[in-house]
Symmetry: C2
DNA sequence: TCAAAAACGTAGTATAGCTACATTTCGAAG
DNA sequence: CTTCGAAATGTAGCTATACTACGTTTTTGA
């Protein structure tokens, strides 16, 4: 994957991978990436103050076969808004830096998700949800947010839904389930130990349990009827934004759309009517889970 | 912006902007974009079955000064995936299509946000939050999710926080506020009419009210002490994923990071300790708003 | 201090991109 | 149907580009 080319350039500079002249090239590239990818070899060498072969040697050290490939990787990195420096946010950053890096990190992650997500697993989940008598969304902490979001969406397609974020309530909920009920558990690590007894209880009662997690080999994933892996770039630094919520929210969107699509168009018309009603009553579509709120 | 280049190619083909031979080029480009941007002029012309100048004329018609620029735009477009205009999801799409488009749309939006966000406004909000005695997050519907998310984060920096998502509770909450209290209202449209009385009441009591919205000219934005505009690409179609939550969640991250950074490092150490504790107790950092959940 | 190795630049070559111009194709008027 | 003109397309040739082989300089370590 070519996702983090600018970071590759930076680490190459910071580590001792580059020679003195090559480092001059890397500094120019980092400070003026737009120019660097548009200039010809001769002009780039002149701008940096080194010879043409040195620039080429620099490109090769970064894993590019030739200047063309270097330019393509630069263009990709710039398009995706990759951070000029680390994705981790250094103390003392300006507001503009913080904003750029939070967004860069989020975009990189979604881009990553796009390439890795298991759509077959998603389809199997959709099949389960469509046949469900009721859907129960469980999640603690930040995953509780995702559960609530899902709960706001799905009832509109005509399926009764519940969201629980309290471990005790979740266990109580689990004991009330039976066959044709479907549980969707959100847990990024897949190691939420308080969740496990509830998953076991739910399955013992005949309910299907889907786990959405970033770790397909985790205990919860193994305990589930069906697991969907949502890979996230690991970064445990304190300043790192919590990306997995966002990835999980996107997954909720995908599932909701797929379910809506499969259900008859009547349901869709219902939603449209409801949305318009909400807009008219509140003069604010923020109350609709399907508004752009 | 060069975000939508592939769509530009497609519309050029579908409209009658291209000659017969040039259309052959466009078809090759659309069917094999990776190849098209890596091949040399001669090889590309050969692969398409036209002469070199025809390929160049094709590039020019698409607004590229030369082949280099064409390649850079291709690389950018490929990196960012399909553009937003194409992201509306047609009924009958496959799961893979749905997943790709939800993510493409989210990425396009965050990319857009990245270019437009008002970091000065954010900084002013941070200044307010740092001086706050307590912080109150308000939001209805999908914005309620965002409010809850914020409420999970900020107490860790040592600031007492409350999230309210019920209009009546919000109004009650508003009447209890005084100077040095800060309210953060989330409303994508900025037209949540039920929110207005509460905003007025809060300000009458001397509290500061910040509104995070996509519409800087909206009633709520005008009624606020401080407004932060979070632009989102409009798309009211039923299948459109609700992007603004995601954008708003990113804004919450930015604010949280900026506040954490400004507070003394003691607070940061506290969070680290807390996070470790949670991991040890629950064997799952999903319970921590700062875990990668 | 000296020799080996790495770094770097010079100069030369093949090729890539680009342009001016010739040829062909197509459409409309006679 | 023929003829003329304009648009479309290809040919051929020029310039600058990317890349390489080799020679020079600098650095390194004994």
């Amino acid at each position: 994957m070519t996702t983090h080319f600018m970071i590759r350039v930076q680490t190459a500079r910071d580590a001792d991978e580059l020679s003195r002249q090559e480092r001059k090239v890397s500094e120019f590239v980092l400070s003026a990436p737009e120019e660097a990818m548009r200039l010809s070899l001769a002009r780039l060498a002149e701008a940096v103050g080194v010879s043409e072969p040195t620039v080429l040697r620099f490109c090769r050290k970064l894993g590019c076969a030739n200047l063309q490939e270097f330019r393509i990787k630069m263009a990709s990195a710039e398009a995706i808004g990759l951070p000029a420096t680390h994705a981790e946010i250094a103390p003392g950053s300006s507001m503009a830096d913080i904003a750029a890096r939070v967004l860069d990190f989020s975009v990189s992650n979604l881009d990553n998700l796009r390439r890795q997500i298991d759509t077959d697993a998603l389809q199997r989940i959709v099949d389960l949800l469509i046949g469900a008598r009721s859907i129960h969304f469980w999640g603690n902490g930040a995953s509780g947010i995702v559960a609530r979001d899902a709960q706001q969406k799905f009832p509109l397609f005509g399926i009764p839904c519940l969201a629980e974020t309290d471990s005790h309530q979740i266990l109580i909920n689990a004991s009330t389930l039976s066959a044709r009920d479907v549980v969707v558990v959100f847990s990024n690590t897949g190691r939420n130990s308080t969740m496990m007894p509830s998953v076991v209880a739910a399955r013992a009662n005949g309910a299907s349990v889907v786990v959405v997690t970033s770790n397909s080999g985790s205990p919860l994933a193994r305990a589930a009827s069906l697991a969907c892996c949502v890979p996230t770039l690991d970064n445990t630094d304190i300043y790192t934004p919590t990306i997995s919520r966002i990835a999980a929210l996107c997954v909720v969107d995908m599932l909701a759309i797929a379910v809506a699509q499969t259900r008859d168009s009547l349901a869709c018309r219902k939603i449209k009517t409801m949305k318009e009603t909400i807009v008219n009553v509140f003069r604010d579509d923020s109350s609709s889970p399907h508004g752009n709120e």
